[in-house]
Symmetry: C2
Subunit: 120 residues, 2 copies
DNA sequence: CACGGAGATTGACAGCTGTCAATATTGACG
DNA sequence: CGTCAATATTGACAGCTGTCAATCTCCGTG
């Protein structure tokens, strides 16, 4: 593979390639692909959003419910959901006027194995 | 400025208390304790630093070696190491003039189990 | 003791990020 | 159609963050 400055990997794929942190030194390239994913997670509101969605009975949650769980404006919640979605941590599903989000199990598993060294 | 934090939990302990993200909705309190830990990790340079230390043969690495691995100024590396240390992800050990850092296995394991849902 | 080198701290600055108000877009339904 | 409700987008702004140059602290050694 040649170096490509415009590679369009989903962030989830950015992780799949890497051995755990403690296994061998992370390359600069890998680090720069992984950091945005962690950055997406590194916010209290987004952590709660992801947890709310992931722990929801049906495995998915409607934005309308999520908005009510915070004392933040609707655009702010929408912004956080967008960040999580673009990182590949949340999957979006629009049904009619409502939008449902689902947590990406593979993304979370990938992150965890990167950090702990557990094989996926 | 102020060392105002009233709670004196290490960030590692901040995690130990929580069930995995997908198990039940994270409380605001828990989210605000965990986010700083992820924030410490969510930087390409710090990811590489942690990986360098964690994957080092003896389990620890001297700052002098770490400095050489980046094209960044010494104060910048020192700053990143401080962030990782204050988050509880790196342990500091000063021996004479040299300082050695060691990765905290429990912090990493805690984070991973929080994310993936694996029991600690 | 004085000097030199390892690492930390300080101060400054540009760029990023979380938040809101205002507005746009989209689909259901009369 | 026209209206209404659910999300998304835009623009603005304050606060945080990564970086460097300069300086400081500490310790070993001549």
């Amino acid at each position: 593979m040649s170096k490509s400055t415009t590679l369009s990997l989903t962030p989830v794929q950015a992780i799949a390639c890497c051995s755990p942190l403690a296994r061998e030194p992370l390359s600069q390239d890998a680090a720069e692909r992984i950091a945005p994913l962690l950055k997406a997670l590194a916010d209290p509101v987004r952590l709660r959003l992801l947890s709310l969605v992931a722990s929801h009975e049906s495995g998915e949650a409607c934005v309308c419910d999520l908005n009510d769980a915070f004392e933040l404006s609707q655009p702010t919640i929408s912004h956080h959901l967008k960040v999580l979605h673009e990182a590949g941590l949340l999957e979006r599903d629009k049904r009619g006027v409502w939008v449902y989000y689902r947590a990406s199990a593979s993304a979370l598993a990938g992150l965890a194995s990167l950090i702990s060294g557990t094989a996926p």
